[in-house]
């Protein structure tokens, strides 16, 4: 049957045509399309990945900022409490120092008073002695009769005075 026997002319033309079509399409047709589709796929994949990474980064940043905030708050609290402690300590120190200084001044004053008292007593004693000598002179001038009796009297009186002053 004519239909089942391939015609050689058509066979040759088909070989040439198909060869040319194949060559053109295999070189300039399909690879371009497939390459571009692959590239687009890669591009989409990359974009998705980038978006996911960006999202993750954003979440990280949020978390980090929260962490930083919490840290800052903590730091703030710590600094505040430290400052309060320092303040308390300074106040306490000052108080102590003031107390000590006051005590020291009081002691000094007391000591000064004591020395001054003693010197005053010594002065008085001297004065008394001078006065006594003066009195004695006067008495002696007046009554030098009984000298022995007079001297005894003066001594007794002086002793009494010293005793009373010592008390």
């Amino acid at each position: 049957m004519g239909l089942l026997t391939p015609d050689p002319g058509l066979l040759i033309w088909m070989l040439i045509t198909f060869g040319v079509v194949f060559f053109i399409l295999a070189k300039y047709g399909f690879p371009v399309v497939i390459k571009m589709v692959d590239e687009r796929k890669a591009y989409i994949d990359n974009s998705l990945k980038a978006a996911r990474e960006a999202n993750e980064q954003l979440a990280n940043v949020k978390q980090e900022s929260e962490k930083v905030l919490a840290q800052a708050r903590e730091e703030q609290g710590r600094i505040l409490s430290e400052a309060a402690a320092t303040r308390d300590r300074i106040i306490k120190d000052a108080q102590e120092r003031a107390q000590r200084e006051g005590q020291r001044l009081m002691d000094e004053v007391k000591k000064q008073i004591e020395t001054e008292k003693e010197s005053a007593i010594r002065d008085i004693r001297r004065q008394v002695a001078v006065l006594s000598v003066g009195i004695a002179e006067k008495i002696m001038r007046n009554k030098l009769a009984d000298e022995k009796e007079q001297t005894e009297l003066i001594d007794r009186m002086l002793d009494e005075m010293i005793e009373s002053s010592k008390k």
Binding site: P6, G9, F18
Partner: protein, 346 residues
Amino acid sequence: MLLLLLAIVPAETLKAQNDEAADVDVNELVFGHIGDAYEWHIATFGNTSLSIPLPVIVKSSTGWHVFSSSKLEGGEEYEGLYIAEGGAYDGKIVERDAAGAEIRPFDISITKDVLGLFINSAILVVIMIACARWYKKHPVEQSAPRGGVGMMEALILMIYDDVIKGCVGEDYKRYAPYLLTAFFFVLVNNLMGLIPIFPGGANVTGNIAITLVLALCTFLLTNIFGTKEYWKEIFWPDVPTWLKAPVPMMPLIEFFGIFTKPFALMIRLFANIMAGHAAVLSLIAIIFITVKAGPIINGSMTFVAVVFGIFMNALEILVAFIQAYVFTMLSAVFIGLSRVKGHGAK
């Protein structure tokens, strides 16, 4: 509407012929349209037939002859060459040898099928290059194709991802250009064959020479790049030894399988497309056969024929796609089978 046109145009064409000869030779009509021709017949109005003459290129015993096919019209002889009627070379250009017997010269005329092949190939190349150019003009980052280019991309990817990647296996990238070319080549030729007037209508993929070349390509690709495992499975398959040792039964079957597979590819595509064309033409021919049976029967049969013709054309569009798909898929499967890596590897 288009489908209606598809069915009606050949009807109009044939009606014109009908005026002359009431007795329609359906066989000649159908096979005349299915087969190849030296001119591209479009229509016959009364006694004038409208057809496109095509160049005849023949190397006969007297050397090369190149002339228009219009010189051979109506059985005329030109430079010792004429178109044979009946006999072994019915419808082909022949010459007479010294003994007066018809012999066939070396004939590479641009026949209807060859021109159809050229036109369809040009259409295919233009479409694909246009697509490729679109991609060159539009960087990946900017946009994905829509419309025509998008449709072609979807088609290409459907074949590439589903058929080629799935069936060929590991190194599918090497075979993708051939398989994609085969798919679109068959598809475009199938679809163009369904258009009844000039640029289409040539029964290209329904010609055995065309499918022979396609099947031959698959055959060569399968066997040239076959792995050791593939040849081992042919000549020493994993079957009980008595099936292959003294009498090589299985190896013989497997060996024939090498040839039957591409042969089946060739016949399947050829027969499907040819049968589709024959069915549509036969349905339309019913209109002219029933002319003698009176106007009522003729009218009703015309209606039936047109309805069935539309149905067949719609079916043929589906078949055009399915056959291209099947051809590609089976080629991919055969190539995939020849690339086996041994069962132990799994």
